[in-house]
Symmetry: C2
Subunit: 335 residues, 2 copies
């Protein structure tokens, strides 16, 4: 099955590039609300499922034991830009467990926000693992181990109890088997399992409604999604779509990007979850897809927010002189 | 027409992302050597045609009048990484015309090579238009104006004589009408015209052979392509594909990337030109496409070089810890 073109990139009056993809929106019973393309082919959800991967952090009692709140939970679900606030909060989480950046096994990279990288260089510093976009998630893994009295070393390995707990949570919430032959290694070195988009969307519908999760897990899921929506800066960063979208939606929508063009999200009041994969792995394509789909869904309950999202789904592209040269737009299939 | 999947991105044993595209290889008579996908749909060739756009720089006599050689010609055809050598050579070209960076109308941006951007920040500097990846091409435009006694100001405009000369050269070499309604503005603010890939490939076959160009233009074309192949660092930069590929091919292959997933190239000894567009605009996809096609073509005359290129067409992807997580590979349609 060939997925449809969902996003066009224009220059002048000409379509210059095209993004294909698959989109699925389901409710907590698994009933399809919207389906485009092949949503049963396994895809790696990557960082888009960090909210589900954070369940053991909350359910273990680590969050409460260390006195963490929405900020630390949001950072555990983040792919952040490595801005000073992000790195400082990850360091503070580790400090509560009596540890520091040396415990992180995600690897170091320069902050993805260029201004933060340049500031770091101007100050004569080099990046640490705290600047890795996944440092919050990893701090959550480490704090969970510390709270449970488990040796955190090697926590990124598929056979470590931290990752077994993550896989169990993922399987239970999405209902998809996480098979060894569908396992890959993520950018931050933890395992990632390819599963159908349909299951991932179903998982987010369950996270948003609590339906089918059991009382304790439903409570943890609600707490995690609420934290993400309450702290959109910590989830991503300055001028990042996830941050701006959740700020605009003020608590009505949760979204999370994943590497290689993945998006997951939920609209709790509508009881739906969504999952998106841009075939080519390009984030700009997945961004237009997720904003367009959310605009369609939210229109039923908030036409004003829907209009704001429609504008976000049609951004203008400018060149180095600030001249408008083209734009991005959803195709009819999506809009 | 749906273009075929030509490149797969793998993670573990799973295909994570896919790039579709169109590829055309023709000889100087326009005879098709290889054709995949829709090669008659208009495409913006962007920076991939800088070698053709440099014809007026050479043909006007500006290159010789200012005492320029292969280095300056190569920089005029470059999308460089803004490394110190690139910025310095652009400045030196402008100085020969009695001008400086303030004459450039391409806009300023941080060097695309991260190390160079960080070095600039560490030294307390900010980028100038000399660091713009197109500063060499623009210095060529300005030097051409200076040599011909034309006011260089406004040289990026479609109605300026500098751009009229570029459009005339492009139309004549590619045989494609450059229509106003197919005109867009490039990242560096000059006009770019959408034309069929087939014509662009034909243009490069003519540039490589001189066939159909007339004696003077054929000489200028040979000089430009030779300069690009002789100075691969100046064409792109450290660890850039164009540089590494032309270094490996030591004078047998010319290639040039363009924004939004375009590649052009030529193999002079085979008398062929090629043009490629990755549908989604992603450079990594276009890179695998161009290297794979070149490996197929060059195998007839240099099996050893073909094998080197095949290895470049199957790169390994590593994560922040240096762990091998997957790779890129051409599909059977391409390989």
């Amino acid at each position: 099955m060939t997925n449809p073109v969902l996003v066009e990139v224009t220059r002048g009056e000409v379509v210059e590039s095209r993004h294909r993809g698959a989109v699925i929106v389901v409710d907590a019973d698994g009933k399809t609300v919207l389906e485009l393309g092949d949503v049963d082919r396994p895809v790696f959800p990557r960082s888009a499922v960090k909210a589900i991967q954070a369940l053991p952090f909350v359910e273990s009692g680590a969050v409460d034991a260390f006195g963490f709140g929405p900020r630390e939970i949001a950072l555990a679900c983040a792919s952040h830009s490595g801005e000073p606030e992000h790195a400082a909060l990850a360091a503070a989480m580790l400090a509560k467990a009596g540890l520091d950046a040396s415990a992180l096994e995600c690897g170091a990279h320069w902050p993805s926000r260029q201004e933060s990288a340049l500031d770091l260089a101007r100050a004569g510093h080099t990046p640490s693992a705290l600047h890795n976009n996944c440092s919050g998630k990893h701090s959550g893994f480490i704090c969970t181990c510390a709270h449970l009295g488990i040796d955190h070393r090697g926590y990124v390995g598929a056979g470590h109890r931290a990752q077994e707990a993550v896989r169990d949570a993922m399987e239970s919430v999405t209902g998809a088997t996480h098979a060894v032959d569908m396992c890959g290694t993520d950018g931050c070195s933890i395992p990632t399992y390819a599963v159908p988009l349909r299951n991932v969307a179903h998982g987010f519908a369950r996270m948003a409604t609590g339906i089918g999760l059991g009382q304790e897990r439903a409570k943890a899921a609600r707490r995690i999604l609420s934290a993400c929506m309450a702290e959109p800066f910590l989830i991503a960063g300055t001028r990042k779509l996830d941050t701006e979208l959740m700020q605009a939606a003020s608590g009505r929508i949760m979204v999370k990007v994943g590497a290689e063009g993945v998006y997951c999200g939920a609209i709790p009041e509508l009881g739906v979850g969504l999952a998106i994969k841009c075939d080519d792995g390009v984030i700009r394509g997945a961004e237009i897809m997720v904003v367009s789909v959310l605009a369609r869904l939210i229109a039923a309950v908030d036409p004003h927010l829907a209009e704001s999202l429609r504008q976000m789904a049609n951004p203008v592209l400018k060149n180095w002189n600030g001249i408008e040269v083209g734009g991005l737009r959803p195709t009819a299939a999506l809009d």
